[in-house]
Symmetry: C2
């Protein structure tokens, strides 16, 4: 198997998932349990999150088995009974999953995934599910912010070399494309996900030639209709003049240089000067492309200053979500054996029971408010339920949408979110309230827990 | 293959590595090239970096091949000639690698890996090499900082659920153990790397029982000599009293509760109160373990306040290196076809030529200064060369050290770094200078590049 698409994930789990399984089995406790995956609060400067990661979760759940070798390892730890090991030998996931589809927006406290299964099963799968939603929703959200900042410019994923590992590199390509990036430099992501590929040249290419202009000529001869010259290896303006010389030579042979790329220095000033050099040489069709430690904040700055830049390569800071590198998400038990459950830990209260999230629109079709309700509650007919049942009896109900379909769904969804929530800095909170039914249940469950559990001896 | 240990990595590369290969091949340019991987500047509050990731890099280089399916995909892009595709069909890495071994410390501008091979080969492997050093050195460094803050307390890796993907989860376990963590919750990392496993119970376990105390009793009966109770599901002090009741019951059966875990609230105040409850019940042997959004800064704060905490579970913020989620590292051409090469881009100047790094100690054996030199330069006999030749002709020279050996090397190495460079906030810069030979070469190469390349037409 290849990065971002691994098999043999059964042991990709926290030890306590297995020690709890041992204890549940010994207690004869394996009734249905529902776990809810939600985010407690949005990371800094975020006004929304983008749902992503569901396809990987569903494929994991469908494929999950313990191999003989894995059972053998668990046996060797000395922690587990023969009963548990036999149980794990037969293990497969038999439960049900509800989820907010990939590419849709969600907000704090809203369950983005709910898993119902015998508690040993629904508990055991916690770690991988959290891991993937944390990564993919994080990156899709960061990429959506870059899209807002880019004002329609072409954005390309350049993150692969500095993502946090191989899986993150694959998912950065997937999730940035999902959120509207045009292409990726990641060749394997092109193959796996069908994402268009893009690439230019490295500084090493330029400097491996005795003269910069020879590097441009060599590249142009290999890619006469698809060349982008990197012009800052020695000096950006000097590089722009040489690029213009080679571009005119290419014209003579019936070809056109596509773009030049700036990768360092003051992008606002340099892009203006480079644009001028190109225009004065009659090369107004040659685009100016910029890269180098960019993110939504710097893209906004250079575009607000009117820099004539046609596209951006966005790498590390998008690929690691640099200003907010994790989501404060959790996977919490909300119902066990028909009993709604909540947790009272300081600042970490959870909402009990299985849920549905309803989205209400204003008269222009823009998102106005979300309501978190109990799953069986019905709101007005216009209220759109966001959670869909996607797995039943451990089987995916219908083939997941293609990445292109998810990308289109995101585009439609994002256009319905009022602009104020897309502000890159300190956006207001999108309105999310609890339904009357859920509120009442919370109060009951809280009273019960406090009465029963918080008495000091 | 499983996470963190993938095969089929040939396409895990940036597109430009392949388009440059196309152009090099057409130009008949495939002379030996040396690339140097180094960090331009340390992330915020860092005084050092820990070398990590080398074993994965070497295994990747040894195994790297293009499968028929991968060649077919590249063919389908329409970008590449039959010549290049034939070349890739036969491709294997034939080069040489020098590196600073895993577990050693390094500083800005020091090459931690240098790769010499025909330029198509040494260029093509850039992406994966950068990706792995970025991740593993980043996490090993973050974990080392937690170790400093922990003042000898037991530290456990709890990061798996919120690392940036599966590979990062595996490498977080590996690199935190390398830097001195005692154990991990990641079961697969226990199997793969032989790291001791640790785990307690989740809030869901407690709340799946009708009463908290029943959960403690059930767990104690499954793990009578190895139980840690999570006591904050409803109320930490109330949980501590119940834990004490069950611990006394366990004593009656000849067993001992190992620890209780706090996961929320004011850890300083709560740990004192919980310690008191345990001590008053005659349970002074029961340890207090803390977790919940911890990092080196918060561990330092609670220990400086004298909180009676015996161990820490450190998760997300270590696993994503939250305050500095990437390294500003680069992989730059420094020599091609016997010509030393440097790059002059604004703020991104690189040092030319193949290098060695020498470490000098003071009379107490503590690290005093590093000198970056040309590889063939010899300094005084006491100067210890850090870069070792680890691969020749595409083959690993000798089996890489075990993770335990690397861990020991780190411990020894870290003890030699003066404490001031380990400060968690704004440490001074460790002295790194260039040798006379390297300085002279830089000036020559710079003069050459400026004369030849920075003339405006």
């Amino acid at each position: 198997m290849t990065p971002g698409n691994e098999a043999h994930l059964a042991l990709f789990t926290d030890l306590y998932e297995l020690t709890m399984a041992e204890s549940y089995l010994q207690q004869g406790m394996n009734q249905p349990a529902t776990f809810s995956l939600f985010t407690r609060r949005l990371p800094v400067n975020r006004g929304y999150l983008v749902s992503a990661g569901l396809e990987d979760i569903l494929r994991y759940l469908e494929a999950l088995r313990f191999s003989e070798e894995e059972i053998e390892f668990l046996h060797g730890t000395g922690l587990f009974s023969e009963d548990l090991l036999s149980y794990l030998e037969q293990f497969h996931f038999t439960g049900e999953v509800w989820a907010i589809p990939e590419g849709r927006l969600y907000f704090p406290d809203e369950p983005v995934v709910e898993v119902t299964a015998p508690i040993i099963e629904s508990q055991l799968v916690e770690t991988f599910i959290l891991n993937q939603v944390n990564l993919q929703s994080l990156i899709a959200t960061k990429a959506a912010r870059c899209l807002s900042a880019g004002q329609g410019r072409t954005l390309v994923d350049f993150a692969l070399r500095r993502t946090q590992g191989t899986d993150a590199g694959m998912k950065a390509a997937r999730c940035s494309y999902l959120a509207g990036f045009a292409s990726t430099s990641n060749v394997l992501a092109g193959k796996r996900y069908g994402i268009p590929l893009a690439g230019t040249m490295a500084h090493s290419f330029v400097s491996s030639f005795e003269h910069e202009i020879d590097a441009f000529r060599a590249y142009a001869s290999s890619f006469p209709d698809n060349a982008v010259f990197l012009i800052d290896t020695y000096d950006t303006l000097s590089g722009a003049h040489k690029a213009a010389v080679v571009a005119k030579e290419m014209e003579g042979q019936g070809h056109r240089l596509r773009a030049v790329r700036l990768d360092s220095g003051d992008l606002i000033a340099l892009s203006r000067q480079v644009r001028l050099i190109l225009d004065q040489a009659g090369l107004d069709y040659v685009e100016v492309f910029a890269s180098g430690s960019l993110d939504e904040y710097s893209v906004e700055t250079v575009l607000d200053a009117g820099a004539p830049i046609d596209g951006f390569g966005i790498g590390t800071k998008m690929g690691v979500s640099a200003d907010a590198p994790w989501l404060d998400n959790a996977y919490k038990l909300v119902k066990y054996n028909d009993r709604p459950i909540l947790k009272l830990s300081a600042e970490k209260v959870t909402l009990a029971d299985e849920k549905q999230v309803y989205r209400l629109r204003d008269k222009n079709g823009m998102f106005a408010e979300d309501v978190i309700a109990r799953r069986e509650e019905r709101l007005t007919p216009e209220a759109e339920p966001l959670l869909i049942r996607v797995m039943e009896g451990g089987r995916i109900i219908q083939p997941p949408p293609s990445l292109k379909e998810i990308r289109q769904r995101f585009q439609e969804e994002f256009s319905r979110l009022p602009a104020l929530y897309k502000a890159l800095r300190e956006p207001p909170s999108y309105p999310v309230r609890l339904s009357h039914g859920l509120l009442r249940l919370q109060e009951e469950a809280k009273r019960y827990a406090e009465q029963e559990e918080v008495r000091l001896p």
